[in-house]
Symmetry: D2
């Protein structure tokens, strides 16, 4: 079990160069924080310095609950925005799923083997299909009371989740969520869209791809925003298709991509590797 | 030097199954045509049988100029549409290019080593940049008289090409051609678009891709139709990018894709491997 | 539910061209067998014609149990070797697994959703780890009595399988099987090797890959022969790694490849798409 | 034209964490060196901290020729090994080539467009084939006097190059160079091997790959060491093949990979992005 802290930070580039990088390093050294990983990015177009630092807490001499108080003066000096995360905290995630449960099965298996460091606290669906899977992995399963009513379903979920859910994963949920719901989980809700965005926004993308005669199909995992399929992209991948592939074959090939791409996005989120700005992501891998 | 014939054909599926396949095979055997390759595709959605046959002409006992007369009765019987091509005919191609000459350089080199079995009879450009390259490969170079006037330029090219050009390759020509010009070279004009279509239609696709924050960029080679970037796709490929890639890096990575993807599309066209229907391609590779 | 037959055949190329192709087509037509797919390959180096034909049995007028008797004269005339398979027959497969059960979980899930048209009749392991998974999917699970004794284990399995198993899948079984066992299941036993063969034969290939500093890691699915990791390759795939990837990261990335590549190989085998000759495979996809 | 410096450094990890990182940052800040890029790697297995720093020299107040004297005390304090490179220095490269000139043509074109920031000072070959290409790009071409005598050829080249060549590129040179020659250009000589190493070491790898029936073929760019095809790997890539690909098709597909992979390796070397240790490379991209 790791006992580390991760700091994601951004600062104006000019200030970062003129001492912020050194100051943050020295702050950690001064408090016996052994640096394990550091990864930087300079975006000169936006005048931004962005960084991810991970350090060992074993001998770190600031109580982590007190970190903010100690770090804030330095942050103020260099106009640093920061987000602190503790590796030993297991985020609580809820998975929303429809009748297509391949991504759900995949996430549950990965979580059970330790690949995803989180607790899956709830599975919500508009179909009963996934209940046996949920039972096998000992995860509570909630069937929506009135699945055809979007407004009711969203209220029901918001009540269910309360303050207990850190991340929502839309594992082929197939419903467009309203702006009020989305606002509650901004940058805390990950979707898998079964096309290579921005191509084939909206419904039935494999059918659209088939009709257009593309030679590769893709999938996209992204944070959900209020504009459909337009949120910050976390990960994408593609697979080759040919005239020999029917729509059914594309659906099959696509499912393999969906599982891999969604699980990567979720893992990177859980490992605090993703920084979002300007509707884009930086993934520190 | 190969001395073979290629037959691309399509027929209603039901008729094809009820004897067309066997009948065509027997026709070739009866005339001492040694079958070298055959590749079929059945599209049940469209009720179409599509096929590419290649056979040796060494002992074929029909003079190839007389093929149509001999084959037509069989074609009529099974409602077969067909297109015959001779491998020893070297198609004449004209390349249109702007100041970006990487695809041109690549095509010229490939043609010179024998990878592309064609004669490049003319290079046309709105810039003088590519002239030394053309000279080195001993290909006539024509600078458009009035490059800013689209109408004049298209007239000028149509006159230049006359009946002598079998295929036009737009090797990053960067100009949208008018419907009259396009109509003259329907399914005989190949473009390379520097995005993964249908994403990022139109101008500056790498900049669009950068702004959208995609994780892969792609390129698309397609036949030109009157609707911009909407013709039948011949080939596509992608390459991974990350936040570390600037627009300039994307342009660099994209150029490598453009060369490979365009040259594949041109080679398949030259080798008579492409069948087009319903605004899609079948590539028999 | 499909009701089709698949014929895999090979014949000397010269004879195939001189009428075998036409004769087989006509045989099917004469007996009201609607051809659904046909795929050919000519290997001029080996003088071989290879083909896969699939046709509808709905109106086929030969009882399929009697097919061989009717087809044999034609086969003899053109020296055709053939193998007939019926799509409505569900092959019985046994899966051998060790403590690593990710490929097993993947195969069970795919079978349950209908992606793999087979019956998984038995799971055998030298560890109890996979028992709950087997139970969930209602597949009998057999723990080897004396797992450290290879000879006993192989005898035990041979007795268990008897004549009831059509295909054995080594889903990361991690034991080298003896020549006697292999001989019983020649071309009916598929392994997943966690390297891009022929690189990194033998044990701990990801560790070998890490030490060598390769930039891509791969996996290979192949039929098992008596020479270690040398059987006919069915499918391979790779994923990019960098200096940022630890051996543990490689194991993670590799697992995703293993699942996809093994399941593809198994599906192609089940769909009778694989022809083996000269220690190589042709996969008619 | 960039006016920057690049520092590649390595240090014991423990010392790096205890202040080396901060000390180097502060050193640059103290001397008005604007940091443009920084990329780190911690290899805990080898207890090594590795880093690449690039900074603007515009206002840097140490004359760069004097850098070592100023930096050495800090390096000593933290046991830092370092290598300094100036971006405005254009390395001088010699290209060795045989009759296969596709990689040569590709490198010359890339250099001419500015993609490779170097001067190609000499092309050496055992065939006259490439002379026209060399002439077109105005690069001196040297035909080896006695190409069949390896010892003489290597002496001849060593004399030709003298102290004037920073990097040798083996662009499909097809000759194994002796240990004495290799020793002169250790980590300054890049080869392209036309297989996915460590698979298919030695001669005719595409033929070996064809015989083995692999489903992907690859190429590898690496620094040359005295053990054949065993030097530190810089870059690799693969492309899919099938039973439809002849050896000739593999050669064609492979050539496209060779050009791209070799040019990437050369560019990364020229941009001082490669750190070598333990016979492996770290590429800071």
């Amino acid at each position: 079990m790791k006992n580390t802290a991760v700091l994601l930070l951004s600062a104006p580039m000019r200030l970062a160069r003129k001492g912020a990088v050194a100051a943050v390093s020295q702050f950690l050294i001064a408090h016996n924080g052994d640096l394990l990983h550091s990864d930087d990015h300079l975006d000169s177009g936006r005048d931004l310095f962005l960084s991810r630092l991970e350090w060992d807490l074993a001998e770190f001499d600031i109580p982590i609950s007190d970190f903010e108080r100690h770090f804030q003066p330095l942050a103020d000096r260099f106009s640093i925005n920061f987000h602190l995360a503790l590796t030993d905290y297991r985020p609580k995630i809820a998975i929303l799923v429809s009748a297509y449960d391949h991504c759900l099965a995949d996430l549950l298996y990965r979580q059970s083997t330790g690949e995803l460091a989180c607790d899956i606290v709830l599975i919500v669906s508009n179909h009963a299909t996934a209940k046996p899977l949920a039972d096998f992995f000992h995860v509570p399963f909630h069937l929506l009371t009135n699945p055809t009513n979007k407004h009711d379903s969203e209220r029901e979920m918001l009540e269910l989740f309360g303050q207990h859910v850190d991340l929502i994963v839309l594992a082929r949920y197939m419903q467009i969520l309203g702006p009020e719901f989305v606002a509650q989980y901004l940058l805390r809700m990950i979707n898998i869209h079964h096309s290579f965005l921005p191509a084939f926004v909206g419904a039935k993308p494999y059918h659209q791809a088939f009709e257009r005669g593309v030679k590769l199909i893709g999938v996209t995992s992204h944070y959900v925003t209020t504009t459909l399929d337009d949120g910050p992209i976390i990960e994408q991948d593609v697979v080759r298709v040919s005239h020999r592939d029917t729509v059914e074959d594309m659906l099959n090939k696509g499912r393999d991509l969906e599982k891999v791409v969604l699980s990567r996005a979720v893992r990177w989120h859980l490992e605090n590797r993703i920084l979002v700005y300007q509707n884009k992501t930086i993934v520190f891998t």
